[in-house]
């Protein structure tokens, strides 16, 4: 039941957080339990609200759960998964092959993904041009040292 996945997920988050809080080391300065108070309040807040959320969803259990349909429509799943993969590759390559090459690959990948292969000249121009513009803006104008 997809409908209950979110409330149950947050309830688990709340309980894990609560357990982690109760296992925090005691403070040597001041109140030994000082670091725990605020997190305990937060944990209770999350657990209680996700319980209420669960019951709200329980009341709707006979209705169709439509929220995730948007993701499945058209080419959206392809766009999302490919973008996430590209972002991860970018993270992996950024320091290894240097900013310029990594960025051209990343932007180029996104452009081909969204605009298709037919507009390959346009895609390549945008990817290369914006990689250089960004490099210039950050490395030269803002003096950020890029790998």
């Amino acid at each position: 039941m997809l409908r209950f996945a979110t409330p149950i997920f947050f309830m688990i988050v709340g309980f894990i957080y609560l357990i982690a809080t109760l296992n925090l080391p005691k403070a040597r300065l001041g109140d030994p339990n000082g670091p725990m108070y605020f997190p305990i309040i937060i944990a209770v807040l999350i657990i209680v609200s996700s319980a209420v959320y669960f019951f709200q969803e329980w009341k709707l259990r006979k209705e169709e759960f439509k929220e995730f349909q948007l993701i499945k429509e058209g080419r959206a799943p392809l766009y999302l998964i490919a973008t996430i993969v590209l972002m991860l590759i970018y993270t992996f390559l950024f320091e290894r092959i240097g900013f310029l090459y990594a960025t051209m690959l990343f932007l180029g990948g996104l452009m081909f993904l969204l605009n298709g292969r037919k507009r390959w000249i346009y895609n390549i121009i945008i990817a290369v041009a914006f990689s250089f513009i960004t490099w210039y803006a950050f490395a030269e104008l803002l003096q950020v040292s890029l790998p």
Partner: protein, 502 residues
């Protein structure tokens, strides 16, 4: 307490320094553009531009970010009027009468009146800012830890309560935000909390990365879902000016909705979106011809436009006088200026009156600049609406990564960015409000410090809540803000059941 003319003049002189004029113009221009683009709002624009503010002096950074904010209020209505697609929440009300006007061939007048209304709302609100900010800062000087803690509770609960129809989800979002703020070394005792042994997390999760992830990466991915849908046809603009009769019809609506929008903006939780809705329905109620509303009544466009811009100015008051942002956008701005070493709060007005006045004057200049920009260059601006989103979104993603990199030069932050982008996407899909999370991440640590400081003097939660008349007042306000939506939905339900029964 009067206004020291010397500071007013000095502030004006600083605000018209070439570099500050440049930031006003740049911010206003960028804000207008981002505001125009469907689905992207001021918070995204500011989150993306955070790296530019590094190395700037805090006053200029504040001027720039404020200009982006109210610039987005000007820009948001362009696409509402021409395409019937609001740029962001604040511009929804502009579609009600703005688009019908464009359909009747009055697009030029609609664009003109929305710029003029924004100007009037903005100027009224700047005057309101001058009148209200100093007394409020004076009042905030009386605040101790207990008062601050309760004020934060009230602000958070107001934000949650105003997340229409999604209070429970709002509480969960707020809880997650607070949870994130507790990661890292505990400031009072040095205990490591929830770092899982990762050295990078000892300083906590960088809230700016969270912001960029949710507002930039998350928003872009959410917009992917509808990227293949064709937009409506853009209307021809025609002559950009209004007639004498239109001015007479709109001058009072613009003037009276400025203060309304301003006050709504000052309140925690409510922003431009709510201000413009309130103004729209109010103007409809007082109108002699309410039947024209929705068919292209020019007052129906002028009122919310004046109001939402005024709200964006008002929203700076709680942030600057008390250090507590009342909305997602001001929370982002607060996060950015705190990074630059500025600490907003009541003392800012005592110690840096020059800065405050420079800021106020910059808003005057910025609003005048924007009305010129939006009327004279409107033909050029609307061409930006033709920029294909499929080119724009990859560039926004790249900027998000660059912004994140300049914060700590860390690849761990890239992973955090991607994770929060996904969280932002899922929250949007499941209709979780984002603002409570952002606000909680930013004020969470302050809130905990204030709670623990006040627990030293007041030994129980009850003692804390009844520490002073101010805390009692804030407790009552919190109860009202949380109880009111519950009450109205219950009353609605009962009314519905009764009418069903009959």
């Amino acid at each position: 307490m009067g206004i020291d003319m010397q500071y007013v003049i000095e502030g004006f002189m600083v605000a018209i320094q070439p570099q500050n004029l440049f930031w006003i113009a740049l911010g206003g221009f960028l804000g207008t553009i981002v505001g125009m683009l469907p689905g992207l709002g001021p918070a995204t624009a500011i989150a993306l531009l955070i790296p530019i503010t590094f190395g700037m002096d805090p006053t200029s950074a504040l001027i720039l970010m404020a200009a982006i904010y109210y610039g987005a209020m000007y820009g948001g209505s362009r696409s509402s009027i021409l395409l019937n697609v609001p740029g962001d929440g604040s511009a929804i009300a502009a579609t009600f009468d703005g688009y019908p006007m464009a359909q009747k061939g009055q697009a030029g007048q609609a664009l003109a009146i929305s710029a003029i209304a924004s100007l009037i709302g903005g100027l009224v609100a700047v005057v309101g800012f001058i009148l209200l900010s100093q007394p409020l800062a004076q009042f905030a000087l009386k605040f101790g830890p207990a008062e601050y803690f309760m004020l934060m509770i009230f602000t958070l609960s107001a934000i949650v309560a105003l997340a229409q129809g999604a209070m429970v989800k709002g509480f969960i979002a707020m809880g997650v935000g607070l949870l994130l703020s507790t990661i890292g070394i505990d400031l009072q005792t040095g205990v490591y909390r929830f770092t899982g042994g990762n050295v990078h997390l000892a300083d906590g999760v960088d809230f700016l990365v969270v912001i960029i992830g949710i507002y930039a990466v998350g928003e872009v991915m959410y917009n992917y879902l509808t990227i293949d849908r064709p937009l409506g046809e853009k209307k021809n603009i025609g002559k950009i000016w209004i007639t004498k009769e239109q001015w007479n019809r709109t001058k009072w609506p613009m003037l009276r909705n400025g203060p309304i929008g301003f006050l709504v903006g000052v309140l925690p939780g409510a922003g431009g979106a709510i201000a413009s809705m309130i103004s729209y329905s109010l103007e409809k109620q007082v109108s002699k011809k309410p039947e024209e509303f929705g068919e292209g009544a020019i007052e129906g466009l002028a009122a919310p436009e004046s109001s939402n811009n005024a709200a964006s100015v008002g929203a700076f008051i709680p942030m600057l006088t008390m250090g507590i942002p009342g909305s997602g956008t001001t929370a982002v701005i607060l996060g950015a200026i705190v990074m630059l070493g500025l600490k907003p709060g009541p003392l800012l007005f005592e110690n840096n009156p020059d800065m405050v006045w420079t800021f106020i004057n910059s808003m005057f200049i910025g609003n005048i600049f924007l009305v010129i920009l939006n009327i004279a260059l409107v033909a050029l601006l609307v061409r930006i609406l033709d920029t294909p989103p499929k080119t724009l979104y990859p560039i926004i993603l790249l900027l998000a990564f660059m912004g994140t990199y300049t914060l700590n030069f860390s690849m761990t932050d890239f992973v955090i960015l991607i994770v929060f982008g996904l969280i932002g996407l899922v929250m949007k899909i499941l209709q979780f409000p984002v603002a409570p999370l952002i606000l909680a991440v930013i004020v969470g640590s302050e809130m905990e410090q204030n709670l623990r400081k006040s627990l030293v003097t007041h030994d129980s939660a009850w003692g804390l809540m009844t520490a002073s008349p101010i805390t009692i007042g804030l407790v009552i306000l919190t109860i009202i803000s949380l109880g009111y939506p519950l009450l109205t939905s219950w009353l609605k339900k009962r009314k519905l059941e009764r009418s069903m029964g009959q």
